[in-house]
Symmetry: C2
Subunit: 222 residues, 2 copies
Amino acid sequence: MLNSLSQVNQRQLSPEDDLVHEGGPPREPTIFLSGWGIRYTSLQDGRRQILGYFLPGDIADTNIDVSPVMDHSIAALTKAIVVEISRETIAGLAETNPNIVKAIQLSKAASIASLHETILNLGQRSAVERTAHFLCELFVRMKLICLTDETSCKIAMTRVDIADAIGMTTVHVNRTVKDLRTAGLLDLEGKTLTIPDLERLKRAALFNPSYLYLRPGSAKIG
Amino acid sequence: MLNSLSQVNQRQLSPEDDLVHEGGPPREPTIFLSGWGIRYTSLQDGRRQILGYFLPGDIADTNIDVSPVMDHSIAALTKAIVVEISRETIAGLAETNPNIVKAIQLSKAASIASLHETILNLGQRSAVERTAHFLCELFVRMKLICLTDETSCKIAMTRVDIADAIGMTTVHVNRTVKDLRTAGLLDLEGKTLTIPDLERLKRAALFNPSYLYLRPGSAKIG
DNA sequence: CGCTACGTTGAGTGGCATCAAGCGCGGTGG
DNA sequence: CCACCGCGCTTGATGCCACTCAACGTAGCG
């Protein structure tokens, strides 16, 4: 089903290309077919906060039907291929495949749950817990889409991106990762994330995966 | 329109009553007719994070159609009167009054925007900015529903609540409020919040009200 | 082969947490 | 009526966690 769509409205993005821009008009819902993306917002003085990120298969929804102006930006983190799907197309698809409605609801609910978890993370967890939780989530999500091997995966984020996602400085991200490495909980060399014992990391990070809405078979559309 | 509803399914809540409970089943969308409520979640060890709060007229939505289990709790902060409105009722109302669909979309979009702003607040703003921003938002929202006089209003939150909302300790909330008082930006004596010069506070807090989705006349349903 | 971006590490500082004590006030019971 | 208690607020002292500033190593790239 997606295959037929992927011929249409498909676009290539380069790293740091904005898909939608804060203050600008929204777009139709967009799926990341490949590559990584981030949703972010900034203060006037330039401090950037990453609100969430997109992995291949994720839908970047914008509330096109509500506000004419975006309150945040969406950008590519790597080279990425995205496909925009208009609401009409979705409505059309929904007629022949009712599951799509469910899938979109699920995707929306998951993204809200994810925002809640991010708030909990920023507000209550210590730097070590926060970093562990963030990287733990990253790994779990990558695993879900089969982009990990047994204990490691490639991530697209730099230290700066991680720092802006979890509200820390790059320097302190570094030191925290070092501590986690020393504790044997994870390793992050360049862009390779290694997690020798995922269950142990989950415990250390107070990680509860329920907010990811992992129902078997429901992570994908179609 | 709301008047006809307010006879039905109306409930009284006392302070700290849970409307829905983390881990339990969701409810139908619920409107706070009077009183204050909070949405919160906790870590296993008891650290609590307030995700958002409800003022009179706000809708506490739960994704009833998606997950059978709540990932957070909703509780009353004061005595409160709430009315639960089933989706069927809403659908029925929508037929005679299409604006209600728009209003609910708007409410959902606003709550997502609010989550984004909270993440930005926790991740990037300093303690002073964060506190200022939080109290500024509070005042603006109270003003919208005409629950302020010229420069002050009553708030239901304790220092503990404020602390759990902005990820600080009560002690430091206190000191920060003191600094803001010294700077002449605001005052918080007990439950009375006074803001002598809202525009000045907005500037200090890097406050941009656009995330509240204040379109004239759109804040209310019906 | 420099240049730039990213990652790493060190030293020093300060913001915010922790621990602890005291204050004011409303509620309760003797 | 008042002593007592508990809760929320406030303030002080102390220490640590995380930021800032700065330097250097390294890798990718024009």
